[in-house]
Amino acid sequence: MDFALSSDQEMIRDTAESFLAEASSSAAVRAAMETETGFDAAVWARVGQELGWCATPIPEAYDGLGLGSVELVLLMEQMGRRLLCAPFYATVGLAAQVLLEVAEDAAKQRYLPAIASGELTATVALAKRGMDWQPRGDNGIDAAISVGADGNVLNGSFAVVADGATADLLIVPARDITGAVALYAFPSQLSGITRTPLKNFDLTRRVASITLNNVVLPADAQIATPQQVAAAMPCAIAKAQLALAAEQLGGAQQCLDLTVAYISERVQFGRTIASFQAIKHRCAEMMVKIEATRSAIYGAAAVAENPALAADFLLEAAAAKALASDTYCYCAADAIQLHGGVGFTWEYDPQLYFKRAQASAHWLGSADVLRERIASALLDAA
């Protein structure tokens, strides 16, 4: 039992911190978010190919670094802090987790090395209407396989897919010919796929709708059976929740840091705003929420590494995501408030975090939904 970060882990965090302070500065983020794809390909190449971040959680057997949830959490936290515009979360935080937890080994062999090397971007379409996956219910999925002359044909649509317009590889749940939901992966450039970039208010992460119109799938497109999906998707989603929670945590931390820096300089009534006790207490409340969230996330990351605690992990990831969503929304809102007039200008950064906070709060389950899931496990069991 040791809850201190190892020196390797501290190094991973510190390297990410200093790289992103430069490569994902406010100016860099604002430049990237005005581009067509929404990210800077050069920065992405450094992240994926030079720094090897994409390889972090991927086992060595698939040419990854074989590191664990703790390391991924540390990276995501720094990326969230700097609002890195990049397809990292969709590719590594989400798609790689689904491949690792749910897919057949052949699919892992096919895709994970390319993801690890930073050459392949990927995403997962989840529920029909949003970035969500309920372990029970059908998630509204209407995507379905039919058998055509040239093999399996896929029709259906997904309303909101993270980085859906740019990802190289699409992973989608769809009903097989028995009506059960299996998982399919295929290149996003196949004929019949329409990817429509959506205007969204979080300009630092793009979403798209995806329509699949008589898409003729390659023979190897199915990567998981309905049984595998039912058994393993909850864990994959929990890992994706944890990664997203870490990203949210980093954003919340930056909201606090930006605020303390600003109010320590800003003078009103002949005093720095930071000298007003009510303001101090508000900042302290932010810190308490942030540290509580950090504890929940680091704890869940440690639990994720212990297969004996798999059932706990599902609930702890849900709790971490719920806390992170609430903490991020709270801190981003208070960052605007405590910045005063400049807080709601485009020029200052709190608005960027405020929008990211709201958008990510509803990915992979809102806090309401996640808490209800925890309550159900605690109260409805026999």
């Binding site: 909101v160 979403v207 000298s275 809102a333 485009w346």
Partner: protein
């Protein structure tokens, strides 16, 4: 204490409702529910035309005394007017700063010549006004004015400095400015309250882009800007008391109109929740019920405030009014986005949909708790003035 309106008042309600039904149509139809706070750049030309239409119907400045060109409505009828205007979706009034703030101030404290010069333009919607109070170094610290005003040989005022968070500056002809006329003074002493024409070389207006991406607010730069000696309210040195008197007019009958807008927005949220199934989420249900309670609170609170106390003091209901509505509105914006869930952040192509409207509220309501006295200033005022607690000391 009674909640009913008289039969005469209800007849008046029918009159204004009918007029709006007849006139807020055709070319004006797109204005419905538009142009409010956070949406002030919507259809500016058409809204000016609408202001003229209103004026022609006798529906501007309805609370002003008749001798000043107003309609001289009773408080109850003013409430009814603002309620019906909002209920009909009447657009945000480009003339509201003139009608609600500087007009009443001129009536109360202006010279006869000033009244004759300025009131008709406000009443007819032909001269629009904006407000020059806040400065970059003094957002909440309103008395910390650095903009300077001095008189030249023939008495004209020369103004140098900068104002900020000025809405509608681009559309207006006049700005009222609080400036320091005694360079050795500090705080609320030594200020002057001036009426300044905007269309002159000494004034530059630069829009400020907000978190919405749009620019409702402006910076206004004064570099040797001028106004004539007679365009002053009160005397040099009395600017602070004029400025405070003006702010006192903010809590008028129009607050009931604001509440009808809020009700409309609340109904949009309920509708969205019913449509997308969020209305089945028990937490959303509890928040919607709480928001509904808040609408009732605001209504009765405003009625308490407007009915006043027998001793004429501003009752506690008045002191908490701004804090309450601004936080309620901010919460409604957040609730709306949580109702939409993952789709909340998707921007619609058309900006007159319910979602676009609620997205604007989500974002712009962040300003509600900052402008016109931040939450923190409001709580200071409540604790100090209503509860008699010690004043927050100034630094230095």
């Amino acid at each position: 204490m009674q909640i009913e309106f008289s039969a005469a008042d209800e007849a008046f309600r029918g009159e204004i409702a009918a007029w709006l039904r007849e006139h807020l149509v055709g070319k004006f139809a797109p204005l419905k529910h538009r142009g409010g706070p956070g949406d002030e750049d919507a259809f500016p030309e058409l809204r000016k035309e609408w202001e003229h239409k209103l004026a022609a119907g006798g529906w501007t400045c309805v609370g002003w005394p008749k001798e000043h060109g107003g309609r001289g409505l009773s408080l109850a009828q003013q409430l009814i007017f603002h309620e019906e205007y909002a209920r009909a979706g009447g657009p945000g009034r480009v003339g509201h700063i003139g009608e609600g703030l500087i007009g009443p101030t001129l009536i109360a404290m202006g010279s006869e010549a000033q009244k004759q010069r300025f009131l008709p333009g406000i009443k007819n919607g032909t001269e629009l006004w904006c407000q020059g109070y806040s400065e970059p170094g003094a957002g909440s610290d309103l008395a910390n004015v650095r903009t300077k005003a001095r008189q030249d040989a023939n008495g004209d005022w020369i103004i140098d400095g900068q104002k900020v968070w000025t809405s509608l500056a681009h559309e207006s002809q006049w700005i009222f400015v609080v400036a320091r006329c005694d360079p050795d003074s500090q705080g609320s002493k030594g200020l002057v309250f001036l009426l300044v024409p905007l269309d002159q070389p000494g004034i530059e207006i630069r829009p400020i882009r907000q978190l919405t991406g749009t620019a409702e607010f402006n910076e206004v730069f004064f570099d040797g800007a001028r106004t004539t000696a007679d365009h002053i309210i009160g005397k040099p040195g009395e600017g602070w008391s004029v400025a405070m008197a003006l702010l006192g007019f903010e809590r008028g009958a129009s607050t009931l109109g604001q509440q009808m807008h809020f009700l409309h927005e609340f109904e949009l949220v309920c509708q969205a929740a019913k449509e997308n199934g969020a209305a089945k989420n028990p937490q959303i249900r509890a928040r919607i019920a709480a928001a509904w309670s808040g609408l009732k609170v605001m209504r009765y609170n405003a009625l308490r405030m407007l009915s006043g106390t027998q001793d004429g003091s501003l009752p506690r209901a008045g002191m908490m009014y701004k804090y309450y509505w601004s936080n309620w509105h901010r919460d409604l914006g957040k609730l709306a986005m949580d109702v939409y869930g993952c789709e909340g952040e998707i921007l619609d192509e058309r900006d007159d949909t319910a979602r676009a409207h609620l997205q604007r509220i989500y974002m712009f309501s962040r300003a509600d708790t900052i402008y016109a006295g931040t939450n923190e200033i409001q709580l200071n005022i409540i604790s100090e003035r209503a509860l008699g607690m010690p004043k927050e000391p100034r630094g230095k």
